[in-house]
Amino acid sequence: MTSKTELESVVIRLAGDSGDGMQLMGSQFVATTAKLGNDFATFPDYPAEIRAPVGTTFGVSAYQVNLGSVSITTAGDEPHVLVAFNPAALKVNLAIIAKGATILLNSDAFSSRNLTKAGYTEDPRTSGELDGYNVVEADIGRLTLEAVKELGLSKSDGGRCKNLWALGLLLWMFDRDIKMVSEWVSNKFAKKEVIRDANLAALQAGHIYGEASEISAYVTPIAVKAATFPPGEYRSIMGAEALALGLAAAAEKADRKMMFCGYPITPASALLHRLSQLGELGVGTFQAEDEIAAVCSAIGAAFGGAIGVTASSGPGIALKAEAIGLAVNTELPLIIVNAQRGGPSTGLPTKTEQSDLYQAVYGRNGDTPIPVVATRSPGDCFYVAIEAVRIALRHMTPVIILTDGYLQNAAEPWEIPDVDAIEPIATNDAPARDEDVERQQQAFTRNPDTGGRPWISPGTLDLMHRVGGIEKDIVTGHISYDGENHSAMSDLRANKVKSVADFIPLQELEMGETKGRLLVIGWGSTYGPIYQAVKAVRETGADVSYVHLTYIQPFCKNLGDIINGFDQVMVPEMNMGQLNTLLKDRFSIDPISVTQVTGQPFRISNLKKKITAALKAMQPGEAA
């Protein structure tokens, strides 16, 4: 083999038609990456249409991965390698890749028809548009067909192997063999011999092409050494997977059944699919007739003594709002997962956003507070799920978990936790019958510290009682329309949510000192880019600290103290400034709001600029 270039980290983006198999190609590349011990972060970026018209820019599906021998927390700002399966894929991605990037083009897709479809009036390969990039062309379609021709496949079946051919070449470009992917293909198509052999042939042909063809004159294989991870046992994990496993782990820790009730919606469905595979952990899944039925059946399950869970995205959560209020009023535990996407209305179903924070915190009729927690990375979903269940069962309340489309589909290497070290989850178990009071009253005799009432399910002897959406007497638990009582019950519900803060950990600083000039506060999936941006700015000696919130309602008790230690606060978020409003309201501060609603994650470089500019503006005249 020719010489190789060693890099600390590299960002690769694979782009093609949604039917070209980009997501599969990407995830298989990542599997080898994980095995080789690189740190990585992925970003599947796919269109709303399942099969948009072939060759169009709006049908382009992409998969981005950032891998490194150093710590990786984002899928990367600017790809260094772009694989473009057609002109449309080149067109939409050229603007975002790094100057001088290597572009591998599937040249036989550059027909005049495809160029027109992509909106090119001139072939970009000859127009000079690609000057300054390292362009490598291969007739991927033709070469794939040639590789599989002995197997007697139809042209369309044969053509379908071209992602494997390209994967073979990509593996060569990154100095990897094809062993792992070959094994995967052999397993996956064990029962379809011809398809299996065709995919293997394509994979091998792509790999050999790198070695043998003149391509090696333009491209030097890139080697990325293994990253240094703390000792432990690792696996690769996606957000949806981690959330499902975390919920199931919580059910085990609470020793209760779990009933997940959902309705198909992008990007929350992934959770339904994952949980459907966890039956052996006492998890049941139920696909309801609509979003309202999904939350209502989860509430019915909670009444029945199981951990009721429902999930959706913004539009579905809107439909569930009334029922979430019912769970508040009946003081039943319930987990509501919102995999956020761009809004309003149907909005951008496959693009990520953090714009349902107001909805989570405020979006119900009446004074109806509920705890809200947020996930920051794929692996973090596991821990946040457990924490949400813990809060729900301790305080007998619904809890909203905010995650988003990006996190649900993104993957990263993850240290498998020591399950034994996770605290069991306490439940407000049914008490013994107290003959001095009515059963109804017993069911609503609450723990003074947590506000949690006993979780008494039908089937429990001699503790029959009724629950419902009508206001009830604070003592007897019977219906009450009394104004003073309603006022007391409203306080009780508010105090219950406030009391969560007595049990959760204190807010930690992600980076920096507890006092200083600028404090950056983030929440949710922006963790990766904010972390890298703050780190980079701090390396220049700047006075900036970073806090990332898991607990949004209530905030950790000491958050106000931390904020008071800084001259200025900056809040970057992928919405129009929702956490910013919350912070303003709770702490009477006026933070710098940094917002982005483009459906794409923040870029580290943009955030760096914002932080630097803010610091500069605070002390005019000082060189940044």
């Binding site: 599997a31 095995k35 011990g37 703390p230 000792p231 432990g232 046992e233 690792y234 696996r235 690769s236 496993l245 199931a248 782990a249 085990e252 059944k257 009933m259 009730c261 966890l278 039956g279 052996e280 952990l281 006492g282 049941g284 139920f286 309801a288 007739e289 309202i292 039925a293 209502c296 059946s297 989860a298 509430i299 019915g300 399950a301 009444f303 029945g304 003594g305 199981a306 009334e322 029922a323 019912l326 498998i416 399950v419 034994d420 009515e438 399910s457 039908p458 089937g459 429990t460 002897l461 001699d462 503790l463 029959m464 009682h465 009724r466 629950v467 419902g468 959406g469 009508i470 019977h478």
Partner: protein
Amino acid sequence: MNAPLTHKDFTTSQEVRWCPGCGDYAILRVVTKTLAEIGATRENTAFVSGIGCSSRFPYYVESYGFHTIHGRAPAVATGLKLTNPELDVWVVTGDGDGLSIGGNHLLHALRRNVDLNILLFNNEIYGLTKGQYSPTSRVGTRSPSSPGGSTDMPLVPGQFAIGAGSKFYARAIDTDKVGLGEVLKASHAHKGASMIEIYQNCIVYNDNVFGGFTDKENVKDSQIKLVHGEPMVFGAEQNKGLAFDIKTMAITVVDANKHADEILVHDETNKVIAQLLIGMPRPQFPVALGVIFHQPADPFDKTYYNNHVSGMKRTGNIKDVLRKTTTWKVD
């Protein structure tokens, strides 16, 4: 061994708050009496309701109860029954709650055949919200929201139920203690979703809307009680019968004495005849009461557990499941 429970044991301390003379009172009495008679236990019985006059029902039954939100009782009940299939779950709903705002949930509970006993109190009006016309109101119903008379076609609950795939549909009248008690027992014995439509008189907003077949003088000629295996005969003198006219594919009323051999024998498993019986127009035909359709099939809660890998039991552990993928060690 404790003494058997009586209807009093199924009665709560709560003052009942329906209008005096409301048909709901009669239904409540028959239900609590039936619970005692079928040997139900209070702890394993749950009443789930939506919103409306009828949906206050759970507050008055000493069992577990859930007064949910408008239209959603079948969904809440489905979650409860799936979680604990040992429970006897009763759903109480009305024509507005079950067929208008909650029509979708009722449809799917019936279609899935969840083992729920669904009591649909049909008074052809919205009571709690003060008298607007409902999806079962007859054309021309004058109400605050239809001062000139309603113009939309009413829904026929029984046809809706069977159309949705219900395996059990029965009909009764609030004040008919015997008839109502019988169908409640049959519904309870049926494993799967059973729907009972109860004609319930709203004395305030739609009084006597069922008078055509509930007034004492009309009863014999305007009602037919169906009993599986028995001929469909009715009338004060038992002189009328129902027959099937093959030419018109319709039910006809015949003289029972002259055409005894043509009279239909009630076969509750016959879906086609059930639909015709449910749809018989008044006043030309009597109103069919009793178990009109019943076709046993495995309930959803049973098939769900059978198909679940571990019957909803925890047979594995999270430690192992976390490792069901490629893992690697870093030393």
